[in-house]
Amino acid sequence: MKPQEPIPHNYEMRKLNLIFALTSLGLLLVTGIMVGYDYVRGWKWFQLEFNRIQEERIEQELKAKNDATTRGRLAEIDRGTRAAQVEIAKNRDAYLDAQKVLDEWEGKHYAADQDYRFAKATLDAQRYVYEASVVQHRSDQKEQQGKFDELTARVHNLNLRLQQATRDRDAARARVDKFLTRIKELEDKKKALTADAELLNKQLEAVSARSKRMVLNAPMLDFINPTLKIDQVVLNDLFIDMNYMVVPRVDRCMTCHRAIDRPGFESKKEAERLAGELQRELDANRIQPSKRAETEEKVASLRRLVDAPRDIPNPFRTHPKLDVFVGSASPHPILEYGCTVCHRGQDRATEFGRAGHTPMSLRMERRWQKVKFPLFPGSWDYKQRNWGYEVNPFLETPMYPRQYTEAGCLKCHAGQVDVREGEKINKATHMVELYGCHACHKISNWRFTGLQKPGPSLEGIAEKTTPAWAVRWISNPNHFRPTTRMPSFFYQRNMIGPAVPAREREQNVRYQDAEIHSIVTYLFDRSTRRQWNAGPQGDAGRGKQLVESIGCMGCHIAQDTVKDAKSGAMRVARRDDFPLERHFGFNLTGVGTKTNPAWIFNWVKNPKAYDKLAPMPSLRLSDSEAADITAYLMTLQKPKFMEEPLRAPTASAVRELAKSYLIGTMTDNEADAKLRAMPVREQMLYLGQRSIEKYGCYSCHDIKGFDGLKPIGTELTIEGSKTLHLFDFGFVHEYQHEEGHKEHILHNVPSWIYNKVRSPRVYDDERTKPYNDKLKMPNFHLSEEEGRLVTMVVLGLTKEKVAANRLAANDARMRAIEEERKIISQRNCRACHVVNHTGRAIAPMIADSNFLPPDLTPQGGRAQSPWLFNFLKDPTVMKIRPWLSVRMPTFGFNDHDAATLVAGFAAEGNGPQFDTHRFETPAQQNVAVGREVFAMLRCAQCHSVAPVDPANPPVPNVADAQSLAPNLTLSKLRLRHEWIADWIRRPGEMIPDTRMPANFPRDPETGGFRSPLAAAIDTPAFAAQKAALLPYFESEEALRKTMGDAVALTNYLRDYIWSIGINQMRNAGTTPEGPAPQQQPTSPPVPALQTGEVERRPLRAPDVGGRSGRRSTTQTRR
């Protein structure tokens, strides 16, 4: 071949090689970085850190387990073991001999066993041969038979020999064991003592196996069996709605929150609380004896946590209240509910920022944002608690900030009035109901539909008060009554605040004056003008006593000032100085200035005469009582309020505002002409009507002519699901709150809502809007806590649907209970009674606890339904506690409400609503035995057994302790048959502060009841009773046994009480009750002003079987 000439290369090879080398190294480096990014994950650091913390904790526990007493006992056991071994050594020869004999016998036994088995096998084979020869009629039958018989005998002998050998061997073994028993005992004891420590050691090993871990978790090997892995819970039925499909919820929070469902890592505060609770249970003997030691150990462990130098840091803490949330025995175990169902957030995220953690406050946000995550986050970042916070702008459901966590309860518990362990959410929903948010903002949710209007009816306002008062009141309700629920509509920050220019401010004031006066003019013009006759003259002093004793103070407050807890000085009262129940009725201070004696007299005697739908019940006052109360209330005056100067409305302002409404339907000139033709008063009437429509007064108050109008507020049914960009933040990021401090608005939904409810017009700051377009929501002057609670409810109203089997309280029994509780909330029963362990707001007002209204927690199991129904309808049918000055009012329940209450209580009691025990006669001997037991236990000391007229029982001498127990003859009609025995056994458990003694205390060991009569029956004091009882028992032994059986004794008592009960009581229905719901208003409809306004919708048809209270217009059918 021709030698080729060298062809020139286009590039220098050396340079290319160099570039190749460098780029290859670069590629290696970059690949390493890629693997690094893939492999180095934040959650792995959290898991490693948690392992370290776990180690610390286990070592702490081990140290505690290994304390002096344990060590001492272990040393003792070791000594015992050594002593036993020394014993053996002393008798070593005997022991060895016995051992040798045993070995021999073992051998012999083995041989005998083998011989026997082999012989048996041969026999079986021979049997087969023999049978075969018989069947086949072979000639050697006889021979085989002979062999068979021989073998049978041989097997039998061998068996006997085996049995003997076994017996001998067992005897030898027993002899050897004698030496060893002691040692075995000690070893068992040692094992028992060190069992816990062994467990802990095993745990420690599992947690801290270091080198093994490093290999298992190495970058390319961690697909096999890593120890660091994502931990998740897949919930198919609690799905997430992705708008075009549903996906299962996959919660990965526990990847970093490792100990969330593990007890032992509580925060100090939680450990303190839990330890206290468990200790209380131990002290009250409520723990089963088999579990006592365990509980005490747990308390000790918790105390160690509290005393530890450092608090367990988040995210490694146990969830608080593990028995209610997250724990496997709780109603919300983590494997069935996950985390995001309650806390929201991005379920599948494994990084702090992406998961949607939301800061609680500006300070927290700043702390989280302080350091931005570097390009490659490392463990040093996490150690400094730099979590890499970033706002995920696309996450539609970020987590609730911690103060609003209970908002997540509502999506499943919205069908409940009381959520167990949900104090905050219960208070929040109660607050929303009481302050009336549902009245202006439709919430299509069971909890907030079918509720009464929060404000009083204004249809008769002219009979009650004067226009001068009304104008001043509407201008600034807080000024007259600092604790009022009525919000301030006028002169708010978007009218006269610092952000409003001065010239506009002056115009706004004129407009607001005009609106207020027009509204008042309209209301008084349309008001009814019935005549109320004044009652007799009363005594204010007696009236004051009455007001403070018959129960007014349960629903009403009568003070303006309270003593400040910190400084001790008197200051203006705030709403949160009193429990919510006492805000149900209005604060009585100043009522004398507001209204007149004739009205008050007739109102307290019969509220329903003034307003058919008034929630205030009748206290069955006599004329003189009512007169006294009237006299007292008239002394509560606020003259300074009426002396404040009133600005008169300017005609120009009225005209301009009226025109602004008119030009919606006619031209400028026409409007001017029309207004010129209207006198000022007519203009004001027109403006008043339009202003009432504008501000939505009819949502909270009944006003004639405004029935059936839609509420004016935004519908809040799914407000919690509204995405952030739909909330109008306006131009404001921080502002000066009316309380004086600066508030910051974070750019998230909870912050928007919180600031909205605390300062509703703040988003109008620095905006230019025409007057009628300005924000209208009135200012409720919510405190910080109130604001947080209301925000919590709004956040919880989401569009997420939960499957019916996951909803709380969804079975028939719970629905009955919840309907009952709803009525209780609407009629404010908790003002006086404890219902389901909470309530009785009136308690601080009554000095002697014996005079408190009864605790209704056990009422369901306690009261018979027919009696309860009659009692609710008319409490005078049976006066069980005639010594109470607090009287149960006549609420005027209609049949539907009373039946709902009765059904609810019966459901609570887990029993049938009606039974026929009342018609039974107990056996004669039961009654007799019961009578004797009754005498022995001296029940008559407190309980009278003389039959009385239940409607008019004799009023007892209250200084006499004996008289403060219900008359037992009333029990047959009132109490449930099975309940009586249960009550006698454990009154303190049912009603903690009852005066009824516990005649049958609990036995801490068995958990049953001890009977005091077991020992007492033999004492000479009861000799007579013993003699009387003997005929009814087979023997004295049987008698003694019965006397020791608490259940039997209480049953006899019950039968006795049943036998002395009266059979008849007066039925309700003879006293006037509240109106049936289907009543149309009887007055003619108000003629609409012919000013070209849109035709009003017709009156709504009333619901069948509706409630007896005033309904707000947001009711929907269910």
């Binding site: 286009n10 590039y11 290319l16 190749f20 780029t23 590629l27 708008n243 075009y244």
Partner: protein
């Protein structure tokens, strides 16, 4: 710095930037590629145009900015002259552009747009577009110079050389592959995949933008009726691109770069591609914000910004505004002015065939000429309509609601 940002913001306004871009493009073609002279008629024309801008700018300030920027560009281009195509100058231009871009990234508003993972490739593509256009034109310029001196094109020179496939081709290809892999890995690790929230039919993002390859069309929708901007024009673009080989009969420039020999073809294509299509895409990506309002590159995307949309049809302009008469009911009368204008515009093709473009008509023959001419006229209708919109707030030249046909 704020003044500079405001300057750029104002310059970026679609009308201003389009005028600037078209004028500078024309100047580059005239002066740097075709070696035009300032002192000639063409050169004077460019300067007069600039002067008109300045004068108009005394009444309308953005035009003043435009004029200033225009003269700055002109001065730079004139200074550089043919050195614009030197490697060193090209490198400096690239560095300058990258520096300006990096400096802009310091502005938070610009950063939000440019660093969005979706938009990073678009930014890269703008650079690539500039680089490759410049390289091609440089090669064309060099070739033109060679051809003018009577020599061979460099492709011919180069094609006499021989090289080995290995290592000169394959080895270098592999090196490029490695480098590209490094870039891809670094990019994918550094910029997260732009995953947003699951699509919610009740909540559309604002602005709702098409992918970048359709942003040109979405931007055209501002100026044209959807039928034209969404169906007719895209179809004609594609059909036109397919038809180019049949219309273009110029035998010159086969296998070698040249500008002079294919002035019209390259010029028209570059105009259509860079000044029209790419400009529309860049505007759509970077300069259109919420509600499809215009925002400068350093301007905050305020969703509440309101600009009055007071666009008016030609028929309304003439009948209602000028003649103060109510609009006629019959559409043929109402739109007569618009229809006449359109017919006159379409009649430009035969008119040009008789006049200035006679040369082309003869060379290409009737069918080719007319197809090419009408495609060209359709392409030009876009900048014409845009300018009419900016000058007169013109909405539709022909607005026939009855048959849903608007131009």
């Amino acid at each position: 710095m704020t003044f500079l940002k405001n300057f750029v913001n104002v310059l970026s306004v679609a009308s201003i930037s389009f005028i600037l871009l078209s004028a500078v493009f024309a100047f580059v073609v005239y002066f740097n590629l075709l070696d035009g002279r300032i002192k000639s008629k063409g050169g004077i024309g460019f300067i007069v145009f600039g002067a008109v801008l300045i004068v108009a700018g005394l009444f309308v300030t953005p035009l003043l900015y435009c004029g200033i920027a225009y003269f700055i560009c002109l001065w730079g281009l004139v200074k550089m002259g043919s050195r614009l195509w030197e490697l060193k100058v090209g490198l400096w231009l690239l560095i300058g552009g990258a520096f300006a871009f990096a400096l802009s990234l310091l502005d938070p508003n610009f950063y939000l747009i440019a660093a969005k993972p979706d938009n990073v490739p678009i930014g890269a593509m703008i650079f690539l577009l500039g680089i490759f256009t410049w390289i091609a034109l440089r090669k064309a310029y060099i070739n033109d110079k060679q051809i003018a001196l009577g020599g061979m094109t460099f492709e011919k020179t180069e094609s006499n050389e021989k090289l080995f496939v290995w290592p000169d081709l394959v080895y270098t290809e592999m090196l490029c592959m490695i480098v590209l892999t490094i870039i891809m890995i670094v990019w994918s690790v550094g910029l997260r995949a732009p995953l947003e929230e699951a699509a919610n039919p009740t909540s559309s993002p604002n602005p709702a933008k098409a992918p970048w390859y359709f942003l040109g069309l979405q931007e055209m929708l501002v100026y044209f009726d959807p039928w034209l901007a969404g169906v007719v024009l895209p179809t004609l673009i594609i059909v036109g691109l397919m038809a180019i080989p049949y219309i273009d009969t110029n035998p010159k420039g086969n296998g070698y770069y040249s500008f002079r020999e294919r002035k019209w073809e390259i010029g028209v294509f570059l105009y259509g591609f860079i000044v029209l299509w790419s400009f529309l895409i860049i505007t759509g990506t970077f300069l259109r914000g919420p509600n499809w309002n215009f925002f400068g590159p350093y301007e905050y995307w305020d969703p509440n910004k309101l600009e009055p949309l007071v666009n008016i049809d030609l028929s309304e302009l003439i009948w209602v505004k000028a003649l103060a008469m109510p609009l006629p009911k019959l559409w043929i009368i109402r739109e007569s002015f618009g229809l006449i204008l359109v017919i006159l515009y379409l009649g430009l093709a035969p008119a040009m065939a008789k006049g200035p473009f006679r040369r082309f008509y003869l060379k290409m023959g009737g069918p080719r000429y007319y197809v090419g001419a009408y495609l060209f006229l359709t392409m030009l209708s876009l900048p014409i309509k845009m300018v009419l919109r900016w000058l007169f707030n013109l909405k539709y030249i022909v607005h026939i609601q009855e048959i849903f046909f608007n131009i």
